[in-house]
């Protein structure tokens, strides 16, 4: 059939013609579906670039937020975002890795506790992020009595943990049994085998998971609404409200001042480029590694 000269029955009869017709139609439709999604991505990037690029000046990334018309920027939000996501990862990484190690090394099919924990971490992965914000508000902000950057980090950490758990477990499961046995045969204790053999050989995958969690968390807005709230000024105090890029976008995008909307677009471009860069780097290195 490859040379186009061979005609088998189905290609010539009427039923075959109909099927070929449907096949072409569906092929066309699926091409349209795929191009729709690509066009959406292109449209988002185009919108961000056309509206945000002119606002992404040196002043915007070096000055703190200010009243409308003052020519302020969002430098304090950048710093705030970096501090809060970094703190969230510092909390989430050891916890998530510990949980992942437990699930892969001790969580056999008969271990009901491990089955429950695995299910729970899956549930946590799909909990709406705004509920995590509400939860941290109830646990932390309401009893303490004021919004704080630290509570924002806790909320982000809760969102990051399940991603790290999942990747750690998956990566540790890929470590061949022979490698563990080799370690055990050399007389290494079990914790030593886990830490210096399994974790080391799964390092690249786990780093990938942490980076993906970072990308996911750094664009989150909803959990910060009720926890770190946002701040117009420079603030490095973890016990006070702190600005962050997504919150700045949220507050400025709906504002009626031209320059604030402009800043919102610039910040949106900044965040999106950052998140996409992390994702591209992760995918690229994962494929090579």
């Amino acid at each position: 059939m490859s040379n186009g000269k061979v005609y088998s029955g189905w290609q010539t009869d009427r039923y075959g013609a109909r099927r070929r017709c449907i096949d072409r139609l569906v092929t066309g439709l699926s091409l349209i579906a795929a191009s729709c999604l690509v066009l959406v991505l292109a449209s988002i990037l185009w919108t961000l670039l056309s509206k945000g690029l002119s606002g992404l000046t040196f002043a915007a990334v070096s000055k703190s937020m200010g009243p409308p018309g003052s020519g302020g920027g969002f430098a304090n939000a950048i710093i705030g975002s970096v501090i809060q996501t970094a703190l969230a990862l510092v909390m989430a990484t050891p916890l998530g890795m510990g949980c992942g190690i437990y699930l892969s090394e001790y969580g056999s099919k008969r271990n009901h506790f491990a089955l429950i924990v695995r299910f729970v971490s899956d549930v946590l992965m799909s909990v709406p992020s705004i509920l995590v914000g509400l939860f941290v508000y109830e646990v932390w902000v309401a009893p303490v009595g004021h919004f704080s950057a630290f509570s924002g980090s806790v909320a982000l950490a809760i969102l990051a943990v399940p991603i790290i758990v999942r990747t750690t477990e998956d990566m540790l499961r890929l470590v061949p049994l022979a490698l563990r046995e080799a370690g055990a045969a050399l007389g290494a204790a079990r914790w030593k085998v886990t830490l210096s053999i399994c974790l080391r050989s799964a390092k690249a995958g786990i780093v990938t998971g942490v980076l993906l969690a970072l990308a996911r968390v750094s664009g989150e807005t909803a959990p910060l609404l009720f926890t770190s709230l946002g701040n117009q000024n420079w603030s490095l105090n973890l016990n006070k409200p702190m600005a962050s890029l997504p919150m700045t976008i949220y507050q400025y995008a709906g504002a009626s001042y031209e320059d604030w909307v402009q800043l919102a677009w610039a910040a949106a471009l900044f965040v999106t480029l950052g998140v996409l860069t992390i994702n591209i780097v992760v995918r690229f290195s994962a494929r090579r590694g």
Partner: protein, 319 residues
Amino acid sequence: MKHLPAEPLVQKQNKQKWPLADCLFYVLVASCAAIVLSVLGSLVVLLGVGAQQAFHHFGFQFFIKNIWNPVSNQYGAGAPFFGTLVSTFIGVLIALPLAFGTAFWLTDIAPKRISAVVGEAVQLLSAVPSIIFGMWGFFNIVPFMARHVQPFLMHHFRHVPGIKFIIHGAPFGTGLMTAGLVLAVMIAPFMTAIMKDVFNAVPPMLRESAYGLGSTRWDVMWKIVVPWSRTGIIGAIVLGMGRALGETMAVTFVIGNVTDVGWSLFAPRSTVASLIALQFPESPEGSLRLSSLLGLGFILMLLSFVTLSLARFLRGDTK
């Protein structure tokens, strides 16, 4: 090598006595697992406890009543629930053909190199923060709906009996339809990724036999791949639904935020998540209003829990 023991060495250590360091390590990682478990447990419990006041005050009426009035302190979950369910339904309805078509195109039709590039692009789309989707929707889709789609529909379909009640209303641009569209493009990449995996997992021999019998690509897709991977596809739909249910920032931007129930798909509405996001800052600690918002959160939590369990059950994985 037959004289070697068949059992792996790292096994059945439960029966033996562990060295102290091993015990400590076990306790360390097990407590990590316990913390993760307790976080989710307390998340559910705390939302429930916070909502006690509202549930107690309004009783069962809270779930069905369409009222949200901070002045008279009357709250009901009717309107936000209506908005959440309808916008999610529209989102899934649009996302399903998009995701299915894209997955079909990526696995069976596109040349490998193009498929890789487009696949990456679609994956990147799912990494875009949700607030960016909100801004994009607010500044692109909303004006488009208000200026073109809605006037067009009004002009041509105003007098069609079955349709007119769905499209009536002033052309605001915000509303259930817009929210559904934005939700669709947010969850479609996610559903595409799952469907692509499921389609690729179909044994190649099945496809080859069907092609050998003279099937077209669509025949193979519709009669071999889809029946074979049906549960996986349903799982992808349910997971996408779960995402759409709890989506906050994007929906808040484009839905218009009016707590009301009605037939029109183009009128401003609100969802559970958008209502919580907007009303929370104005709700003082300990008030009935805050409690009602927590009650909404509690039900949303249950909804997403049910959808996830359903997805796992359908996929049939208990690993």
